[in-house]
Symmetry: C2
Subunit: 353 residues, 2 copies
DNA sequence: CAAATCCCAGTAAACCTTTACCGCAAATGT
DNA sequence: ACATTTGCGGTAAAGGTTTACTGGGATTTG
């Protein structure tokens, strides 16, 4: 059931069949029709391996993520796959689990399978591996940071925009004491988030207090631990911003179990806006970066490298605040408000005297 | 940078290189050593396409899931991938989003890429597609139900065991009025869960009340809607069991928003035990089916078909209850308990008189 | 009417590897 | 010492497709 069978049935040569399949315009419509009929008749599929072998194009894109069970990634993968398939590519997925050894094996698999381009959506990649890909002229896309080399693009996430929105939101509600639970600071993305937070505080005129910044590990357990440390302090912050939603969920749990109300006593903001954020009780205010934008940008970056058009080196990915139930006025606001209005009423009474 | 380069550098023929790489024992250790050195020197990778073309083995396994963003699946994918890679296979992932058209395109892609075997972890597959795979002698694995044909295996999930444990757990706590929020009944898995629930009720001596069974759709929104319908009834059940965790989370939300306590007023049990179940407040009692068992069984089923050993047609996947915070005594139990102990104290007083 | 041009289909090489088969050399047996 | 076996490396075919090149027939031009 190969191309010869089709050629025989359609009474043409295999070259004509090949040309027909590949929509090469020099083929006579009459013959093309015969060929398509034969193809349908035999239910023929071209052999991708043979195709890839001779054309040198595997139509395979690699996608390397940190861990597929981290709910941020499946949405990313879905988007990536969808766009890739739209463009006639297949996706090879690799997950590193933050293990450089596994990263190595992922890269190896990508090279062995002749992936035409690879998107690296996890921690940085080591130099020797990078060379391996660069030697083979395989285009790469990174998130946040990338070596400035030909064939490599970077998706720069604008952490600052979303995080500033979050801080402004809290500031507008009246929060002045905001803690930050950071991710593992060896990860670039975690560092960027922390830096954006500090900058946003300054912009809102809130002093940065280092003791209110705690390093976690982007998991729920990390959030539990971080919240425990926050609770040890004598004066509790009125709001906690987290480097990702898993941390925020952990914090939420710990606070609940300690008898604190969210947002009554403490407001919480997460980051990523994973599906789960919406499902928590209270639902989690979070900062979203669009997974589908990220996926779309990654594929189109790779495509520009592959299809010869002039590649952009940088793509910007937006972030923005999604307000839900976990943020509210700081505790005591209501009491103060009552006092304030009472006072005003008093002074009003005085003035009318 | 092909096999010839290695052969030249090692001063052997390409056949020897090939044999060395494939660990064929008839090659002289001395030459093998030279070959390995040359391979390392040149950083040579065999071309997978060419290999697949000539050997007829793509070392590719297909995995078709419903939707990758449904948190049940990423864990499954992770397990499947891990086991596949351990056995020298790569994984091609396809997601159907419950759309038969997309299923068709998934199958097509699997065939085009010459997947050696395919695991179908979603709704049933239509006859023509099945034939397409069967014609090409591609082994298949299904969940729950499969046509009895050579080359096809089925992973039979023992829904009954876990669900019975759940019902027994509720019964032991004193629940007699238990509602069930089913999944979409056109899905076999949803039907099986409902059937298992009914059977378990009977085994525990609790009458089955059809009006307490509601069809949902395995999403959080479905859970919200189902809970709304349950709240319309005059007498509320004391416990609600759900066909999956997403439904349970929806129900939990609706009840919370309606001012009901979980488990104080109503107990909830989910199914699947997705990661999220543990993160809810209260954390969700759920019935787990091991994703890693499922993945492992799927790969090993395909492997037995591929590597010629005698294939098993059926594999059984276990389920079991994981008790967390969302289940407790039925409402009023405490009041009744107090009355009971008071009464007993009374009669004890009488008898000692 | 002959020559030139053009269109398009067919032939064959190439892509890179595996593997059946051949043959050489050394070892063993008589 | 010769015949037979054994071990092992090399040669070449095969796998299914794309594509450069070739060439035949039709159409146009002089």
């Amino acid at each position: 059931m190969d191309i010869h069978a089709v050629a025989k049935l359609a009474h043409v040569s295999i070259a004509t069949v090949s040309r027909t399949i590949n929509h090469i315009p020099t083929v006579n419509p009459k013959m093309a029709k015969r060929v398509w009929e034969a193809i349908r008749e035999l239910d023929y599929f071209p052999n991708t391996q043979a195709r890839a072998l001779v054309s040198g194009r595997s139509r395979l894109l690699g996608l390397i993520v940190s861990e597929i069970t981290n709910p941020f990634f499946p949405e990313l993968i879905q988007g990536f796959e969808e766009v890739a398939v739209e463009n006639g590519y297949e996706v090879l997925i690799g997950s590193t689990n933050y293990d450089p050894e596994r990263m190595k094996s992922c890269i190896r698999r990508m090279v062995e399978r002749n992936a035409e381009g690879v998107a690296v959506m996890t921690f940085g990649i080591e130099q020797p591996l990078l060379d391996q890909l660069a030697d083979r002229k395989i285009p790469l896309v990174f998130v946040d940071v990338a070596p400035n080399r030909p064939g490599m693009s970077v998706l720069r996430v604008d952490y600052h925009h979303g995080i500033r929105q979050g801080v402004q939101h809290l500031a507008a509600l009246g929060h002045r004491s905001i803690a930050f639970v950071a991710g593992p600071l060896r990860l670039h993305s975690a560092q960027s988030r922390l830096a954006a937070f500090k900058k946003a505080l300054q912009e809102c005129g809130i002093p940065v207090e280092e003791k209110r910044i705690i390093e976690g590990d982007h998991t729920m357990e990390g959030g539990l631990a971080a919240a425990a440390r926050i609770l040890e302090h004598k004066n509790l912050p009125t709001a906690i911003m987290c480097s990702n939603d898993m941390l925020a969920i952990g914090v939420l749990h710990k606070l609940s179990r300690s008898g604190l109300q969210v947002p009554g006593d403490v407001s919480i903001i997460g980051f990523d806006d994973i599906h789960m954020a919406e499902m928590m009780i209270p639902s989690l205010t979070s900062i979203q970066m669009s997974r589908s934008d990220l996926a779309r940008a990654a594929v189109s970056a790779l495509r520009t490298h592959l299809e010869g058009s002039t590649p952009k080196r940088e793509y910007t990915i937006d972030t923005h605040l999604v307000v839900r139930e976990s943020t509210g006025f700081p505790r005591g606001t209501m009491t103060r408000l009552r006092k304030f209005t009472a006072k005003r009423a008093e002074s009003a009474a005085e003035s009318t005297q």
